[in-house]
């Protein structure tokens, strides 16, 4: 007998226009914080909309009130504060890469921007929007994770600072209280001994939603070539959000950067990564290519620091 096929209706429904909702436009930060304190549910914050509009269209959220943050221009900045780089949440990707603070040492941001998807996308995407979207499509997240970034959250009651990996709870779930907004992302600047590289792969050469992407941060003792710190992140490791491959990081810690350590890293990743299949690609492919991207990113790090790649 034939079984009845139960149909799981995909969330991406057909033909969605935007539904009606109210918009609150704060004049300044103080008003905004008051407002958030007062309205703690049904409110969604919007930076430049890229991600949010899609989610409304897909019926993933149905906001009653949207709060427009685009007028808060005081949160668009890239600053150096001692040895920390601080980027305002509302800074667009194109503004980040145009900033002189993001010098050649921090070219990793340019590597991300180059594969983001054309000028119109980087002109609108904000670092805050990327971080709060908390999904594996946000290319900045693996980079920020390996840079050991922190986020500053502000409410009427004051600021609190969280590590980025603590802030990201799960797919589209962040540790943001309803009365808070993300105001700043910070990370220690890269110096003569530390570099960062980013690799991405998708189906085509632009407008790419990555199958896999990878960021590697490497801090070396240049003389001994020993790894002082290595941080490795992918857009997915075991769950559905960008994470660091911490077990592999631990294994490689303190080792000399060479072909052998590369192989060890690859085999460790193979065990650590729990990448799933979806309609785009298989988990086998993702895992294999994650390894390749790690190798390429690590090579580039080595090249940037030592002038030569580790392994061809």
């Amino acid at each position: 007998m034939m079984e009845t096929l139960y149909y799981w209706f995909h969330q991406r429904q057909v033909g969605r226009q935007l539904r009606r909702f109210d918009m609150y436009i704060p004049e300044n930060l103080a008003d905004l914080l008051d407002y958030l304190d007062a309205h703690q549910s049904g409110v969604h914050l919007i930076a430049n909309g890229s991600d949010l509009i899609n989610r409304i269209q897909r019926r993933q959220i149905n906001p009653k009130i949207l709060v427009d943050l685009s007028g808060l221009s005081e949160f668009s900045y890239v600053r150096k504060d001692g040895k920390t780089i601080k980027i305002g949440a509302m800074t667009t990707i194109s503004d980040i890469i145009a900033s002189s603070v993001i010098d050649t040492r921090h070219d990793v941001f340019r590597e991300v921007a180059a594969q983001f998807g054309g000028p119109s996308i980087i002109n609108m995407a904000t670092i805050g929007g990327n971080v709060c979207a908390a999904s594996s499509s946000e290319d900045l997240l693996p980079v920020l994770l390996v840079l050991d970034a922190q986020v500053r959250l502000r409410s009427k009651r004051g600021d609190r600072i969280l590590r980025l990996d603590d802030f990201l709870k799960g797919k589209r779930i962040i540790h943001l209280n309803p009365n808070e907004i993300l105001v700043e992302v910070m990370f220690p600047e890269l110096d003569d001994y530390s570099v960062c590289a980013f690799e991405k792969i998708g189906m085509r050469n632009s407008l790419i939603i990555a199958f896999v992407n990878s960021a590697v941060y490497l801090k070396l003792d240049k003389r001994t070539r020993r790894i002082e710190t290595i941080r490795i992140a992918f857009n997915r490791v075991a769950g559905k959000i960008p994470e660091r491959a911490k077990r592999t990081e631990e294994k490689l810690h303190g080792q000399v950067v060479n072909e052998h350590v590369m192989k060890e890293g690859l085999s460790s990743l193979n065990a650590e990564l729990r990448l799933s299949s979806d309609f785009r690609v298989s988990s086998e492919y993702r895992t294999d290519v994650a390894g390749v991207l790690f190798k390429r990113a690590l090579n580039r790090c080595a090249e940037k620091l030592l002038g030569e790649a580790v392994i061809v």
Binding site: Y6, H10, V14, G15, M203, N205
Partner: protein, 776 residues
């Protein structure tokens, strides 16, 4: 018909072509670069209602109850229409009467329209969609032709699951296999390719005071819409006026049933409310609702002699046509006629099945069966070459169609066959032997390869239907020549080409001509704008009518100049007496004089191509009146670590008969080639249990400007007997060959024979892994 051609060409014989063959600017470019409001949704009337469609959630289900009462009552909703509101026949089809406009008791694909909601505010209509309660009883479904053809499969239609079965029987394949030294088998699979016209389907309907309606929309076939809507509303076709607005891309689906869907629903609302009603599909609706390229599963068995001569070709093609057949039966017809590729094969046995499944619909899309047939044939030729230890180019040259040989349908190839020249030129330009030798020596993680694929493409409709086109031309008092036809422009530049042909026939510069929008009130039935037939068939009509008008002008000129008709000739816009060129009169003066005398400067005509006769049991006969030939090479680089394929360079060589506008022609070739590249390596509409997983442009990948190869385009001209000046169809051919050429190049690069497209990085890498070492 062919005599008319000769007569017309005698008129222009010996003359330098004035505009044909020149890169004249397209007549519609200026409005487009200025961003003028010319597309359908730019010109919707102010007080129009907007529709939103309620669609099936299930791929296969009985509809127990459709309750629109809550939606009807929702504030701001003007009306809700269901099948009950249809005055005429609930049918919206392309060929077979198998598809309703709005579902009544059963839905067969996820996304099938059930009802439509209209409101002045699109957001309100949107919200009301959720209030429609539909009770579904899901029933067993099938999602592949193989499953659907099994004896116990759920039957989707009264005729069962096979919408059409076509056969080619030439000679005796068993004999052919006996003569072979080697028999090579293979199986090939292609995917649903989504056309992605950048402007999704859109249309609006205005109810007229006299009970008729006016439909304006983004469409390919105004007359198909006219007859379809008339049936739905139970009114006469003359009461349905259809006008084509400027259309932002089409590629096939806009000629099938989808515009009947759009206008049908809008018309129901318009009639009910007596207000204009507009329906613009969102990208997702467009991708789910309109027709795509049929996935084909093709199994092949070919007999070949040691020296490479093909002796027998046996094939079975299973085409997934989705829930409703659309033009599937004609797609398999074209595919099966081209089963073997452009080769001489004495014995052919081919069976093609157009099979229903509960996937979304497949139908017309540029190429129309040609890409699928050639993917199988041209992949297989490379496989055969490898088994024989022969160079794939040499194997092809040994077997190609040449004048005097017979096609798979036993049609004699005439002298208008530039296939050999195309193959040789493409191979030479690509550096065939040298590069392939070079690439064998490569090591490292990036490998390069060079592949070739060749084709033939039967022009125009062939036996798919009556092949005719109508043109109307009318000269206004100021000398402007209004050119009207039911053939539609949607980016091909073909209608601008028609202007060039008319201008050439009348030996006038093109600036006198004004192309009017296709409007069923002002043109006679011209058939659909498909099958790349605008220039070939429409061009003949343009010549015919232009020729008649030219006669008229000459008559008037003769009277003015006081000479005989035969004594008059013209050059540019001056008419003169042959023996004394000083006796002349300008075109403008002729027109003025004609108006004064009451001489009508208005002509119309329909050109009908000769019918193509073939035996339906064996497909033997004259299947097409003319063929376009081509060869394409692709040079690729495969990253063996990630499976990504970059197409670096492609050489395309086509026998186009006669280039009416070389620059536009190049544009068609380049555009089609890039679409073919997408088909080869990145495009795939993925269904899971009948639900489209990627109905959006984020997850359905079409090539971006960074994905394009260098394209070197070569054309040769072997004028055919059908098209004006011997022009051949070029709209569709360019999409046919990139896929097999690229797949063959990948094989050359990494020694992997991919039998399924698209060759995504996943497929390539996993294939490499399974095989082991990378081999040259």
């Amino acid at each position: 018909m062919l005599d008319d051609q000769a007569a017309i060409e005698k008129v222009t014989k010996g003359r330098q072509l004035l505009v044909v063959g020149k890169n004249i600017e397209r007549v519609d470019s200026i409005d487009k670069v200025l961003g003028k409001p010319i597309y359908t949704m730019d010109i919707v009337p102010e007080n129009a209602l907007y529709l939103k469609v309620v669609r099936s959630k299930y791929a296969h289900a009985l509809l127990k109850r459709v309750d629109v009462s809550a939606a009807r009552k929702y504030p701001g909703v003007a009306t809700v229409v269901t099948a009950e509101d249809i005055p005429g026949i609930n049918e919206s089809t392309a060929l077979l009467p198998d598809k309703p406009l709005l579902a009544t008791d059963r839905v067969r694909f996820a996304g099938e329209p059930i009802a439509a909601i209209a409101s002045h505010d699109q957001a309100i209509a949107e919200e009301a969609v959720d209030l429609v309660k539909v009770d579904y009883e899901p029933i067993p479904a099938v999602f592949s032709p193989l499953e659907a053809m099994k004896p116990n499969a759920p039957q989707l239609h009264p005729i069962g699951n096979i919408a059409k079965h076509m056969k080619v029987r030439k000679g005796n394949v068993e004999e052919g296999f006996k003569q072979a030294d080697m028999i090579v088998e293979g199986a090939y699979q292609t995917q649903f390719q989504e056309p992605v016209p950048l402007e999704p389907e859109a249309g609006f309907v205005i109810p007229e005071p006299d009970g008729s309606i006016t439909c304006v929309g983004s469409l390919q076939s105004p007359f198909h819409v006219q007859t379809g809507i008339a049936k739905i509303l139970s009114i006469r076709p003359e009461q349905v006026r259809v006008i084509q607005a400027v259309t932002g891309g089409a590629f096939g689906p806009k000629s099938d049933e989808i515009l009947v869907d759009v206008f049908g629903m809008a018309a129901l609302v318009a009639i009910k409310t007596r207000k204009p009603a507009a329906l613009a599909y969102t990208r997702e609706e467009s991708m789910i609702g309109h027709t795509k390229r049929h996935p084909f599963h093709t199994t092949v068995k070919v007999g070949v002699k040691k020296n490479g001569r093909l002796t027998a070709w046996e094939a079975t093609m299973l085409a997934d046509t989705g829930a409703y057949a659309s033009l599937g039966p004609l797609v398999i017809m074209r595919a099966i006629f081209h089963t073997t590729g452009p080769y001489v094969v004495p014995h052919v046995k081919s069976d093609a099945y157009c099979v229903y499944t509960n996937n979304t619909m497949a139908g017309s899309f540029r190429g129309f069966g040609g890409p699928q047939a050639h993917f199988a044939a041209e992949s297989h030729m490379d496989v055969i070459a490898k088994k024989l230890g022969m160079d794939p180019l040499d194997l092809r040259l040994l077997n190609i169609l040449r004048p005097g040989t017979l096609t798979a349908t036993s049609q004699v190839v005439d002298e208008a066959c530039g296939l050999e020249e195309c193959v040789r030129k493409a191979a030479e330009e690509s550096g065939w032997y040298r590069k392939r030798e070079q690439f064998k020596q490569m090591n490292g993680t990036k490998r390069r390869g060079l592949g070739i694929a060749i084709m033939y493409h039967g022009n125009s409709l062939g036996p798919e239907g009556s092949d005719y086109a109508a043109v109307h031309m009318q000269i206004e008092q100021d000398g402007t020549i209004k050119f009207r036809t039911g053939l539609t422009e949607y980016g091909t530049g073909a209608t601008s080409g028609l202007i060039q042909i008319a201008a050439e026939t009348m030996h006038l510069p093109t600036h006198y001509f004004k192309l009017e929008p296709p409007d069923t009130d002002y043109c006679t039935d011209t058939g659909p704008t498909v099958a790349s037939r605008t220039i070939t068939i429409g061009g003949r009509a343009a010549q015919m009518v232009g020729g008649k008008l030219y006669q008229r002008l000459k008559e008037v000129a003769a009277e003015i100049l006081g000479s005989s008709f035969d004594e008059v000739d013209s050059s540019n816009d001056t008419y003169y007496v042959k023996s004394n060129r000083e006796r002349s009169v300008s075109y403008r003066d002729i027109v003025t004089s004609a108006f004064k005398r009451g001489v009508s400067l208005k002509e119309a005509g329909t050109f009908t191509a000769p019918k193509c006769e073939y035996d339906p049991e064996t497909s033997q006969g004259t299947t097409y009146l003319q063929y376009t030939y081509g060869a394409v090479t692709a040079e690729v680089e495969v990253d063996t670590e990630t499976g990504r394929v970059q197409v670096l360079r492609m050489v395309t060589a086509y026998d186009i008969g006669k280039a009416i506008n070389p620059l536009s022609l190049e544009g068609q070739i380049e555009g089609g080639t890039v679409q073919g590249l997408g088909y080869a390596i990145m495009e795939e509409m993925i269904h899971k249990d009948g639900v489209v997983q990627n109905p959006n442009l984020a997850d359905y990948y079409i090539p971006t400007s960074l994905d394009i190869p260098e394209i070197k385009s070569i054309t040769v001209e072997y004028p055919g007997h059908l098209g004006p000046y011997g022009a051949k169809a070029i709209g569709e051919p360019p999409i046919v060959l990139p896929a097999p050429a690229i797949i063959n190049a990948i094989d050359n690069a990494i020694g992997i024979r991919l039998t399924e497209i698209p060759a995504t990085p996943d497929r390539v890498l996993i294939a490499l892994k399974r095989k082991g070492e990378v081999k040259a």
